[in-house]
Assembly symmetry: C4
Homo-oligomer: 291 residues x 4
């Protein structure tokens, strides 16, 4: 079997699996997307007790079909990629591996429920397919806005956590075990349920003082829920809104051109001399490529 | 019966039914609005069990009055419109049809509860009447802001859904059936109840580990509730807030054209004479290129 | 008794009661504020059952003290104001009257609980006193932002209400009476509880289909809670933020001055000649009243 | 013992305790941070009932270790600071003192639960350590945004409180004791639970009229939750969003310094030569006053 022929076959397979520009590549992505969603639905349906036996039979057959497809896909991905090791240990490589093995593992770990979670992880594979769609641009903007506000949100969540711990300790003392505030961790759990306005009601204060403290906590939560919203809102508006005003009196656009004399860069777009060494930036009168 | 006479009669009816400029047209809209709201109230009252028989009698008579009015109205709409077929299969044509038939259908489908939902759909007809009010401009702005942010909100909701499925699977394993997490779908339902901060409390974690995961999930929900708000807020601000109203009475767009006589610039786009020296800005009658 | 003397006495009393610039006026406001808050606390404490008799005795004496003070104050307000009738039928006049009468009414309407609500209405009087504080500027800004967004919020709440009625009807059919969805009004109540993310949990879906519809409703509520927030946020930012930049290069302030020659208006504030006909706008060198 | 030697020893200790620039200072901060978090975890674990005795033993030993460390640290802080009295009565001085004494107090106040809250207050010490991290800048921005919106949020919360009291009184009359609305304070507590969308469900209206009022209250809460969010969002955007990032790669801060040769201004803050004519901006080596 001549080497070049195999190479073409590999390249075509690589195109189909890793790209979405060809009709075959698109078809592959759609089939994969359907199988992933199907496999998650299988997991969900399987967890519902009290169904007739034939349902479980079909679910088992379905899981086999999906596992076989994923096995072939996983092997094909390893074969067609240039550096298999970098794929195998990449994020999606690990997810692909975990998506493939649950059924094989079930022969070893008989009756283990934890394989269910592993099977649910297949859902993460959806993101790779979505990467090639038009929604990914939006997702990136969202991700950027969230990322930009991360330190602020972390500070905020940390403050919320401290309020929750202090309020939880206080409620544990005020309400005590008989009202459901069994321990400080349970009270802190209640504080978080309350501060986030979830309010399950499985634990609720019954003493007037406890209800008063709870009311204060809720109004605080109401007042501070505004903070992360305001942060993300402002960050998002900034990241998608206009660039900083070019007409502002305090800022000017700089480019990456480097001075030939001293190497300093980030000159004003209309600079004619280096701001660092005074060297003429354009001895031959070549206008720099602004922006 | 001469044709032109009928035509005038039809045109008047069309005016009354489809427009709201004439006193009769306004009266018709108000009567229709009252009947729609009344019909929905009838549906609601009818669903309340344990009332004396005469109440149900009156509700039945009321439904007949409304159905007869709607029947005549539906026929009148078909007669007076130029292309009946395009009306019949339009959104409001279908709604009008569905609003008319429940009582007739009740003779065929005896005792069917589902006619109640059909009758509640009459509420959608309210939107057509509101179209001619001043509120529709606001609704359009809102709709535009929501529409502009749709891809972002879809990406966001999709991410929320994946978090809900993964968290639901995890909670199903951790808490199990005895805590109310009966199956993965039920656990996912709980995750959505928690992430959206609704928090019914019909299902609630009881194990420390489950409460810990729930607390993390809630704080995540608290942190990410900011995202759609931030998006809509920014989109809305952009769609309505960007430019000072061109229609405002206090501001007008000016251009950079300079007066040939005195050099003053920033004239109104429609200026014909300089506001500084009174020089004719367009002696050759060349219309300036407004914006 | 000479007329002018009484007039001075009346004017002083008017100053004390209606104004807060003099020390006596400030003192009066503070005493009134304390009595109002005290009277509301009395109402609250009185509603708590199972206290010793002497508590109720003291509450009764306290109510007498407050009622006598309010009676004198109400009479003084009527005497000192120029047009008593316009005060009596104003918003605060009615509130003042209602604040005064509960105890007197209690002799006629023995045992009526509804006097409690009337007594709680005294709280509204606090707003009049707060009017003279520094917080009123902030409250006005807030009120303006809310007022500006009113039509949008009304459209939004109306849409929410229609969603709630349709979802409530659907849930009534799906879940039925045995799950707590006793009637369509009760189901609509549940829909509103869910859409607003309050989530009491007194009624909760138990069937898988009902839970699925509830999940969709919650995610919708999660997605659309952003709308009013975005609106108020943008309106507030607009109302408190800068005016459209006067320094911008593209817009200029215009006034309502009309050209005497051609009648064209909306000239630049610094215009000396009409932009439409070139007529000198200020032949007598009278500077136009800008803004 | 010579004075200077002690002074150096003190200065070194001061550096370690109060600063974080030296390796020893950083190590000290990390150890302190771990001990604080550990001490709070100890409090939490201790509150969980039903653990084996040896757990309580270890918790007791752990508390001794932490108390001894805190005692030495507190003494060291007093010794090394210049004015001990101003430290002792500062906010962190009091927190440090309260962090140290619980175990000693437990010999006097045997079995007092309230020492638990005092021990939880140790958490507040974390803020001092975080002051030296990069997150404090973010926290300051957040704090500033919250501080700027404080009067608005206070006005808002006051209005919410009045709505809660009036609605609570109304619900007390409508629902009465048998539905859980035992007294007006309890009803106000329920109003706050509802308005803030927490919705425990421990108290819930059962009468149709009560459910209707509750629905109105919830929709009001839904409509007005937008207000604090809008305020903080706008304030935050204003306080942080105005100026573009100084660290951005594309923009650089320029100052108003003018070139003595050609008069060109808006040079980079660190410019040494004019970007227009190449003239040395600082022939006398006078560093320009940046920013």
């Amino acid at each position: 079997m001549p080497k070049p022929k195999e190479s073409i076959w590999k390249r075509r397979l690589h195109e189909i699996i890793y790209e979405a520009d060809t009709p075959m590549g698109k078809l592959f992505d759609i089939v994969l997307l359907i199988l992933i969603l199907l496999s998650v639905i299988l997991v969900m349906v399987e967890s519902v007790k009290g169904q007739p036996d034939w349902v479980y039979d079909y679910l088992y057959y379905g899981e086999w079909v999906i596992t076989i497809f994923f096995t072939f896909e996983y092997i094909a991905r390893i074969i067609t990629v240039k550096k298999p090791s970098s794929y195998i240990f990449s994020f999606y490589g690990v997810i692909d591996f975990l998506s493939t093995i649950p059924l094989y593992l079930s022969f070893i770990l008989v009756g283990s429920n934890y394989l269910l979670t592993v099977r649910a992880l297949r859902l993460l594979r959806v993101f790779r397919i979505l990467k090639v769609t038009r929604y990914i641009g939006e997702a990136n903007k969202l991700g950027k806005a969230l990322n930009d506000s991360r330190p602020k949100i972390l500070v905020f969540l940390f403050a919320v956590l401290i309020v929750a711990i202090l309020a939880g300790t206080l409620m544990y003392l005020v309400e005590g075990e008989e009202s459901g505030f069994k321990s400080i961790p349970a009270s802190v759990y209640w504080s978080i349920v309350t501060l986030t306005t979830v309010g399950f009601g499985d634990i609720a204060p019954v003493k007037p003082l406890g209800q008063f403290i709870a009311a204060v906590l809720m109004i605080m939560g109401y007042g501070i829920i505004a903070v992360p919203t305001g942060i993300v809102s402002a960050e998002y508006a900034r990241s998608t809104g206009k660039k900083p005003d070019l007409d502002s009196d305090q800022y000017v656009h700089v480019n990456s051109q480097a001075c030939r004399n001293c190497g300093a860069s980030r000159h004003r777009d209309d600079a004619e001399f280096c701001h660092k060494c005074g060297n003429n930036l354009h001895p031959e009168d070549i206008v720099p490529n602004a922006d």
